[in-house]
């Protein structure tokens, strides 16, 4: 993991002091509501329907055990005993007192955490693959480059006041678990034939009201030019992105307006002047940061396949958990484990302080003190020796964190929706709960196989419904809550190119959502060939058979 330098530490301390001073000025009436809004957003503080919400940055989703203990403390002392894992690998807390936020941030700073640029129209926390440095299908660990981008984008003088928020994601594996296609900038990192680190740069992807997949604007960008190129791209966006209409202000609209070729040419025109200049990464810096992410000290592991087989026979639930929540690791004898927050009856992503502490302890005991947060809103322990899996599973069971549903229908992504969010058209958490209860039968879930179901309470798409294999969107129909269902969306997993969902038909009232989803699943089961996944089946048969049967006149 990256270790803070003296400079990192003093920088965030100075930032906390500055924010404390801004908060005081606001409370003294020297900053207006609107002025303070801009400042608090850039320090992670939202004011929501019911209470404020503080979003703590978890850079590229990687945390140490100590940092997670500190977050458990925040949940206990400042929230009502809960934290929320966000779809951008961050951690959110509800109910902090505005006047107390500088104290929370000061506590966070003691363990090298901050909330800088977790909201507002600026470059947000960079996200990546939650299995980075662990997954067997990885070509290169993306985290050093995420860290380089984090440093460069922190309080960047030119890009703190953009037309709109700006999200960067990086992936280095065959399967794109970072969903780079739906980000303002998506980076695919790999080594060329000579072993040099390079990037393919995609721009203009995003969800929200106008979902778009990013376009390739530059391929084979050498690592030393990463920052000057991003700077040129950001400058074009900062100068020409629309500022008259917030719904047209994301970079995707600019790329569309200029055309991909026009946008690329404009960036290149800008880059000519800065390429090779300050910001060009020296070899020493690249290797300095890479060194922080060197693999941990793996030890020789015993062959435990026989023991595991016995344990699987003895405990079918353990067996299911191994099959769904444990993946192959780069290092022999190790595995990466998903601790699912999606137990029936729990809002997706919600974790209690006790659960947070437990995960922090398991990280210390079993995973080189490392934890990840996935954009599916689960915890991941990246490096667990296989010989400890059974022990870990028992402990996770006791904490309700061993639901064996990773990537299945009940491993839903769900935004806070109408229960918490003032922009919502409809509630989303009760829909998630109803679906979890309806499909609680694990044999049925296992038979369905991999299936992402994503729910957003409005077209802002925080729940990523466009890229759910099944997407559910809350809409307002003459003042009552309705839901629109889309099918076939996909964020770039499974080595398939990402795609956006297609709407299956008119929206429906909440009471009908479970039945319609059940019907969709039935149609899939009827149409699938052998082991065909929902997504592959959909790609083959298209939307027509679903439309016909769901909206058949007899219905």
């Amino acid at each position: 993991m990256y270790q803070y330098t003296e400079f990192d530490r003093s920088f965030i301390e100075e930032r906390v002091n500055h924010y404390r001073e801004q908060t005081t000025r606001y409370l003294d009436g020297k900053l207006s509501e609107d002025e303070f809004l801009q400042l608090r957003l850039r320090n992670g503080l939202y004011l929501q329907r019911l209470a404020p919400m503080l979003r703590v940055a978890i850079p590229y989703g990687t945390l140490s055990s100590n940092q997670l203990f500190a977050l458990g403390k925040v949940a206990r002392e400042y929230d009502r005993g809960y934290g929320h894992l966000s779809t951008r690998q961050n951690m959110q807390f509800n109910w902090p007192e505005l006047a107390e936020v500088p104290d929370i941030l000061a506590d966070m700073a003691k363990v090298d955490l901050h909330a800088i640029q977790t909201s507002g129209s600026c470059i947000r926390n960079v996200t990546t693959d939650h299995f980075a440095g662990a997954a067997a299908d990885e070509t290169i660990d993306p985290r050093p480059y995420c860290e380089i981008i984090r440093q460069w984008s922190t309080a960047h003088p030119e890009f703190e006041w953009l037309p709109r928020k700006f999200k960067i994601a990086v992936t280095g594996a065959a399967e794109d678990r970072a969903a780079i296609g739906v980000h303002d900038v998506g980076l695919r990192v790999y080594r060329d034939a000579q072993g040099q680190v390079q990037f393919d740069v995609f721009a203009g992807g995003g969800l929200g009201r106008t979902p778009v997949l990013g376009a390739l604007v530059r391929s084979e960008l050498p690592i030393e030019h990463l920052l000057t190129y991003l700077e040129a791209l950001m400058r074009v966006y900062n100068r020409y992105g629309r500022r008259d209409n917030k719904y047209k202000a994301r970079i995707k609209i600019l790329v569309r307006a200029m055309g991909v070729d026009g946008f690329r040419a404009k960036v290149d025109e800008e880059w000519v002047h800065s390429k090779g200049g300050p910001g060009t990464l020296p070899e020493t810096e690249i290797s300095r940061v890479e060194a922080f992410f060197a693999p941990p000290n793996y030890s020789e592991q015993p062959d435990v396949s026989d023991t595991l087989a016995e344990q699987r026979l003895a405990k079918p639930k353990f067996s299911q958990w191994l099959q769904h929540n444990v993946i192959e690791h780069q290092a022999p004898g190790y595995a990466a484990v998903t601790l699912s927050t999606k137990a029936t009856g729990v809002p997706p992503g919600d974790v209690s302080d006790t659960q947070i502490d437990a995960v922090a302890q398991w990280a210390a005991d079993y995973s080189f003190s490392e934890v990840r947060i996935s954009h599916e809103q689960n915890f991941v322990l990246p490096h667990v020796p296989k010989q400890h899996l059974f022990e870990l599973w028992k402990k996770a069971e006791a904490q309700n964190l061993a639901t064996a549903n990773a990537r299945l229908i009940t491993d839903m992504i769900c935004c806070p929706g109408g229960d918490y969010c003032s922009l919502a058209n409809a509630k989303s958490i009760p829909v998630a709960e109803a679906l979890q209860e309806r499909f609680d039968d694990y044999d049925f879930q296992y038979d369905l196989g991999e299936l992402n179901l994503n729910i957003s309470g409005c077209m802002n798409a925080c729940g990523h419904h466009h890229v759910g294999h099944i997407g559910i969107l809350g809409v307002d129909k003459k003042g009552s809550e309705f839901y629109q269902i889309s099918l076939g969306g996909h964020a770039g997993h499974s080595e398939l190119a990402p795609s956006l969902g297609q709407i299956v038909g008119p929206s429906i009232p909440r009471a009908e959502v479970c039945d319609v989803i059940a019907e969709i699943l039935e149609i899939y089961v009827d149409l699938r060939l052998e082991d065909e996944s929902f997504l592959s089946c959909f790609k083959r048969v298209g939307i027509a058979p679903f439309k016909e049967r769901i909206y058949a006149p007899s219905h």
Partner: protein, 143 residues
């Protein structure tokens, strides 16, 4: 009237209300001639002649409008403009440190703002991660 913040002997200060530096006859880009004071809107496209302005001001329509920051960087780095570069319009005390690092060398702070607060928060950090117009070194050049 506004408060003029500028630099004297390398230190930020509140300029005297009677200072000659308060009296510029600003011309917009269409009517400007070399040697005159040039006032730019944030969406201006560069003109190489501007390097010959007696002073350049960039007029911020809102504190959230970052276009003026990019324009300042371009004036300093692309045109190598070395004269006084002044923030005008919606200048806000909490944006000053970004503006300084993009090359602004003086500010007209609106009358309603408190200049002592502005001077107090103009340098919230001793060092930054990135190089900038005023500092060619990145954090990584120092470690």
């Amino acid at each position: 009237m506004h408060h003029l913040i500028n630099k004297q002997n390398d230190a930020w200060q509140l300029a005297d209300a009677q200072s000659a530096d308060q009296q510029h006859a600003w011309c917009d880009a269409e009517n400007w001639q070399p040697g005159q004071a040039l006032k730019l809107s944030v969406d201006a496209e560069l003109d190489p002649q501007w390097a010959q302005a007696s002073i350049i001001g960039i007029d911020f329509p809102a504190l959230t409008d970052g276009r003026g920051l990019s324009l300042a960087v371009l004036l300093r780095t692309r045109l190598n403009y070395s004269g006084d570069l002044r923030g005008l319009g919606a200048v806000h005390e909490d944006i000053l440190h970004f503006m300084v690092r993009c090359g602004f060398s003086s500010f007209e702070l609106p009358e309603s703002r408190d200049p002592s607060v502005a001077l107090n928060c103009i340098t919230p950090h001793k060092q930054y991660y990135q190089s900038s117009v005023v500092d060619p070194l990145n954090h990584f050049d120092r470690v």
